[in-house]
């Protein structure tokens, strides 16, 4: 009998036992590697969508897996609640102000949750606490306040995609505000609206009519001005012919008068030093005269003043009195 037939039981037994040992080794290795018996702490986070979020998704910190997603559920207030389990060895890294960033791949494969630790020293965040999502209002506020360690672990496309909901929310807000503004404007211009703005808008028609008539009048004036301008422009025109000689004569006189004034001004400007000296001398003469008069008035010999001069009567006074 052939060897393998004779010892078939032993060979098959070895074949089976070896396979079972290998399976057991696999399971033990998995248990050690995945730390099945290690204590885990649960946290939760809230996202706007479950896209890219699946149970078993890795939660990593600086490239190392520190936990995984336990469950993803839609709550009654339409937010996506993600429950995480963080291994006991990494619990110290879950500090206050920590933020979770969903890293997705444009190809639809890979991805995970990245933990960005808060810039706070102290006790770790208690289990069952909320870790804000990267794009949530609270996460954005924490980041803008500089309370989050934002190590660049993801690629730029992911970061842009993360920012996209915030941008879209802002655009949505702006659009909503614009829509409300338009609705208010529509209400203002409605026929039954009251208030200063509706009155103004309602009077706009009348104002427009008046403005239109004013413009028509202005247009006719402009039309009349046009031939006048043409006539003025032409040297042989009627206007130039009517007012031309008198105008030239008047302008010639004005020109001569201006020349005289200019000469007088030049003379006055040239005689100013002599006039000034003459004025100084006159003032000195007046002061001397004043002193002489003062001395004469104080002289006892001639006290009593100077007799007033009598004007001799004229020989012929005329036919009429002077007052006439």
């Amino acid at each position: 009998m052939r060897f393998r037939i004779r010892f078939s039981n032993q060979i098959v037994g070895l074949f089976v036992v070896t396979a079972l040992v290998l399976v057991a080794a696999f399971i033990v290795a998995l248990g050690i590697n995945q730390r099945w018996f290690e204590q885990k702490h649960e946290y939760y986070s809230e996202f706007t969508t479950a896209r890219g979020l699946t149970p078993g998704l890795a939660v990593s910190f600086r490239g190392f897996q520190i936990g995984q997603v336990r469950s993803v559920a839609l709550t009654e207030d339409d937010t996506v609640r993600v429950t995480l389990s963080i291994s006991d060895r990494h619990i110290d890294r879950i500090t206050e102000h920590s933020v979770l960033q969903l890293q997705t791949n444009p190809l639809g494969i890979g991805g995970g949750l990245l933990l960005h630790r808060g810039r706070v020293d102290g006790e770790p965040l208690p289990p069952e606490s909320l870790i804000p999502a990267w794009g949530s209002p609270r996460g954005v506020a924490l980041r803008q306040a500089g309370l989050v360690e934002t190590a660049a672990e993801g690629d730029i496309i992911n970061e842009l995609l993360e920012e996209l909901p915030v941008i879209l929310a802002n655009v949505n807000h702006a659009t909503t505000t614009g829509t409300q503004l338009l609705e208010q404007l529509q209400q203002m211009v409605a026929a039954d609206a009251t208030g200063p703005v509706p009155d103004l808008i309602r009077n706009a028609d009348q104002m427009t009519v008046e403005l239109r008539s004013l413009l028509a009048l202005t247009g006719s004036l402009a039309e009349n001005l046009r031939p006048l301008t043409e006539e003025l422009r032409r040297p042989e025109g009627a206007v130039v012919r009517l007012v031309g000689p008198e105008l030239d004569e008047a302008l010639e006189k004005i020109n001569r008068t201006l020349g005289h004034i200019e000469e007088l001004s030049g003379f006055a400007a040239g005689s100013t030093p002599q006039i000034r000296a003459l004025l100084y001398e006159s003032r000195d003469a007046l002061e001397t005269g004043h002193a002489v008069l003062h001395g004469i008035r104080n002289n006892p010999l001639i006290r009593g003043g100077i007799q007033p001069r009598e004007t001799p009567a004229a020989g012929f006074e005329g036919y009429r009195p002077e007052e006439f």
Partner: protein, 265 residues
């Protein structure tokens, strides 16, 4: 014209009757095998020697080809993964791809293909030869249930062999991946084990084992069924063997797709 239509209808009716009869026979065969399987598992095991030999022929003797195939396949996958995936910035997915391909998909299906090609034909040929040689009638005449004595040990043996070969396929495949990644990417053993352990889940192993069990049952049942379909002539034996293998392949592919779908639901 009328005659040809009548002939066509006759052929269609005969074909339908044949298919219905075959289906009923196959269902009855499966039910009888299941009943005898329960009796085998929970009662006396007079055919335990047959079971041992079946595992020896199907499992142990196929180990070499499974090992070679899985070693080379694991090496190819890791080399392709390490060269291709980093270009997409997804180098860490190499191990995920390795687990998905080796453990979840190719391990069970390739092992089943190997067993179907080797042992499926052997079982069908052996049983067909026994039918031609009137051995089956001899078993019945002596009061031995051929299903209990011939089919059930083969079903269990093939199923167990496929499951165990799948375990070896995984081990050798992952080992081949390590041996290939060591010189090409300089991956250390513990790093490799850690990376693999991070992505490999127990459900992957269980899913792979479940697939293997289903594939083993399919191979054994189809092979035994076609072997026992041989009636008189020895020329029917290779025909039924070929049919058994081709039908096994088709069923394996379809069932694999269904099980993969169920896994991801």
């Amino acid at each position: 014209m009328l005659g040809s239509v009548t002939l066509l209808l006759e052929r269609l009716g005969a074909r339908t009757r044949h298919l219905a009869g075959s289906f009923v026979y196959a269902v009855g065969f499966g039910i009888e095998v299941a009943r005898q399987l329960v009796l085998f598992l929970f009662g006396k095991r007079p055919a335990f020697r047959v079971l041992t030999l079946q595992i020896l022929f199907t499992g142990v003797e196929a180990l070499a080809i499974v090992a070679v195939l899985s070693l080379s396949l694991g090496a190819v996958i890791i080399i392709q993964g390490l060269s291709l995936l980093p270009q997409f910035g997804q180098a860490e997915l190499t191990y995920t791809v390795l687990v998905v391909v080796i453990t979840r998909e190719l391990g069970p299906i390739l092992t089943a293909f190997i067993v179907a090609a080797r042992s499926g034909t052997a079982v069908a040929t052996e049983l067909g030869t026994m039918v031609v040689n009137r051995e089956i009638e001899a078993y019945i005449a002596t009061g031995v249930n051929p299903i209990a004595y011939l089919v059930v040990p083969r079903v269990i043996g093939v199923t167990v062999s496929v499951i165990l070969l799948n375990v070896y396929f995984n081990v050798f495949g992952l080992a081949g991946a390590f041996f290939a990644s060591r010189p090409t990417a300089g991956v250390a053993l513990w790093e490799y084990v850690a990376q693999l352990g991070a992505v490999l889940q127990v459900r992957d192993l269980l899913g792979s084992a479940l697939k293997s069990a289903v594939f083993g049952v399919i191979i054994a049942l189809v092979s035994c069924h076609h072997g026992l379909l041989v009636e008189q002539a020895s020329t029917e034996i290779p025909q039924q063997a070929i049919r058994a293998v081709s039908r096994c392949f088709v069923l394996l592919i379809v069932v694999n797709a269904g099980l993969t779908l169920v896994y991801y639901l």
